[in-house]
Amino acid sequence: MDIKIEMDDDVIVLIPEGNLVASETEDFHSRIEKLAVYNVRFVLLDMGHITFMDSSGLDAVMIISKHVTDGGGVFVCAAPHDNVLKVFRITWADHKIPIAATRADGLQMIRELRNGHV
């Protein structure tokens, strides 16, 4: 799985591409775990290039979210396709992870949420 990583001020933006499914989650985890070294506090997961996500992919997202928020940070998902958003909704994960319609909205959401954290 290709994962582009960009910085927007002090927000790290993860941009995975392809299917976030069981066959990809191990690689996804190992790539993301390396980021922990840098004590990342503000993370936006841009899901605009994820075409399919199963429950293993959702688990992977939940683990990142927990890692970031347990460390006092803010984690937001952005721009999920309808089928990906449906997975969040059915499992009620959208009640645990903030989801924005676009990357710009996601960055704005992080700015607003971090005010409660810093």
């Binding site: 688990d59 927990k66 059915i90 499992t91």
Partner: protein, 137 residues
């Protein structure tokens, strides 16, 4: 439309689940046409059933049997191993369970919510998960 059938048997590996899912996506597209949401629903549910077979049953192979006609698409996912009734397990889940968990256990809930009918049979030391979606809406 006569009934058509596809059988696939594959080594229990997540990469092979990807291939089986791709085949099912093609069939679902044919069955549901412009109703891409229902096509995606059954594809997701079967994907979860196959993942479970690979991850939890210790079976060396997984079999996916797809049959479709003008009324329904049905998919049976078969793997070896000890009996496990996913229908009963899924029935016990509710939205409080979903809200309370950080990770894991979403697959059964997804299947339950995405198919029209979900059945289970244990036969000849095999678990058979039976998933149905109506095509003739």
């Amino acid at each position: 439309m006569d009934e058509r059938i596809l059988h696939m048997e594959f080594e229990a590996h997540f990469r092979n689940v990807d291939i089986a899912r791709a085949a099912l996506q093609g069939i679902s597209a044919e069955c549901f046409g412009k109703d891409t949401e229902r096509a995606a629903d059954i594809t997701m549910a079967v994907n979860e059933a196959m993942n479970n077979a690979v991850e939890h049953t210790c079976s060396t192979t997984v079999r996916m049997e797809v049959a479709w006609n003008a009324k329904e698409l049905r998919v049976f996912v078969t793997s070896g191993g000890s009996p496990f009734d996913p229908v009963a397990a899924a029935a016990r889940l509710n939205h409080d369970d979903m809200l309370g968990r950080d990770e894991g256990g979403y697959g059964l809930y997804l299947i339950r919510e995405l198919v029209d009918k979900f059945e289970y049979e244990y036969r000849n030391t095999c678990n058979i998960w039976k998933l149905y979606k109506r095509t003739g809406l």
